[in-house]
Symmetry: C2
Subunit: 223 residues, 2 copies
DNA sequence: GTTGAAATTAGTACGAA
DNA sequence: TTCGTACTAATTTCAAC
């Protein structure tokens, strides 16, 4: 690695592209698994871990980058140590046909770590990291509220981040315990009590899949 | 870098720790900014970009790792290319006093990319990546439903991920356009007056901050 | 797809400002 | 503290197998 290491084939990974450029085999996935845990590992060490030759590792490594399967390498930073100890989720209802504006405005907000368009009651979910609660409040009321495309917002604070994995990969199948649903969980706690019984009936009634239309209108009518 | 590069001073970064181990100055933040964009950059190139000597860069680099400000380095992977094209958010209501079990079960689910404890209507938000919609359904109904600690769930699908930044850093202040809507914020947020502006009243009425108690009970009563 | 050797680069240790 | 330099070790590239 010399310098910026910008992805040379980014152009090929642009949205709208359909075809898959690269067939990912088991070796590719293994490489990704290692790289996910240690993005700074040398290709030589990577080859040893995956069990392939160095030249092969270099080839595949470069192919994964060129294909776009590996977007980039980054450092996981402790935001609390970095001075941004407050994390909040802002659910946004967007005025129809103002999506383009909404996205443009959002792109100009560096405090936004994540933004996804969702089904369900709201239209988008924004995750922000701030120095304090007041900053979140200011962000919502002064900035988001000023965007015409934003019809309404709902903010919740994140109290703790239990799990944070860089990226889930296929093959991340529950190798541990749990999961085997109706079957007897080995180490899993709670004996058959509330949920799935011996017969394996899962209480679906308490589960909700929220479609795009449901629930709308509660925050819809605003000034 | 030799091999796995496990953080040597991880012990000092364990949860519960209060004091700040390292005062982050402007140079540290600059290093983090570069590393966030290119986690595989060599320390030599890093030094050049930040404008410090190589020796200094090595010292600070190691200090940031030892302190825990840099948690680890990782590869950003295109999940669609990796075969996990469906992303969903699952909002979970957790039975009180069963949090420990909930967290333990969650830890055994590798498909979970992110899980945060939140205020608001629900208690936790889980983000999962799956190969297809059916897998999400199976995950919710067969796995989550089987956890006694899970009282109810609400699932929404992510249609598009507009913004995805590795980590927000202080100094990520809106330098672009936009935002300057009603109030002329200099740099930092949290101005004295929460909203307002010259003559610009911000419609606070459509904004909602959702506390921990509000809205509870809708999904609370289940079988 | 693999192995081995050459050239380049990275990481370390030291003294000086 | 930070910088500059020299030394050692490792990585990457390129070749032939």
């Amino acid at each position: 690695m010399t310098e910026t290491s910008s992805n040379p084939a980014r152009g090929g990974a642009q949205p709208g592209r359909i075809g898959i450029g690269l067939e990912l085999d088991a070796t590719h996935l293994k490489i990704l698994e290692v790289l996910r845990e240690n993005g700074r590992i040398s290709v030589a060490a990577l080859a040893e871990r995956v069990g392939i030759s160095r030249a092969n590792a270099y080839t595949r490594f470069e192919a994964l980058r060129a294909d776009g399967a590996i977007r980039r390498f980054t450092a996981e930073i402790d935001h609390v140590r970095a001075g941004l100890g407050i994390t909040a989720l802002i659910f946004v209802t967007v005025r129809q046909q103002m999506w383009r504006q909404f996205r443009a405005e959002l792109a100009a907000m560096p405090e936004v770590e994540y933004c996804a368009i969702t089904t369900g009651q709201h239209d988008a979910m924004i995750q922000v990291r701030m120095a304090d609660v007041a900053a979140v409040h200011a962000m919502v009321t002064e900035r988001l509220a000023g965007i015409p495309a934003v019809k309404a917002t709902e903010t919740v604070f994140i109290l703790d981040e239990v799990i944070r994995r860089p990226y889930v990969l296929p093959g991340d199948r529950a190798g541990g315990r749990a999961a085997r649903r109706t079957a007897p969980e080995p180490t899993g706690p709670a004996g058959s009590g509330s949920a799935a019984g011996p017969g394996g009936e899962v209480p679906l009634g308490k589960m909700r899949f929220v479609g795009a239309a449901e629930g709308r209108g509660r925050l819809q009518r605003d000034g």
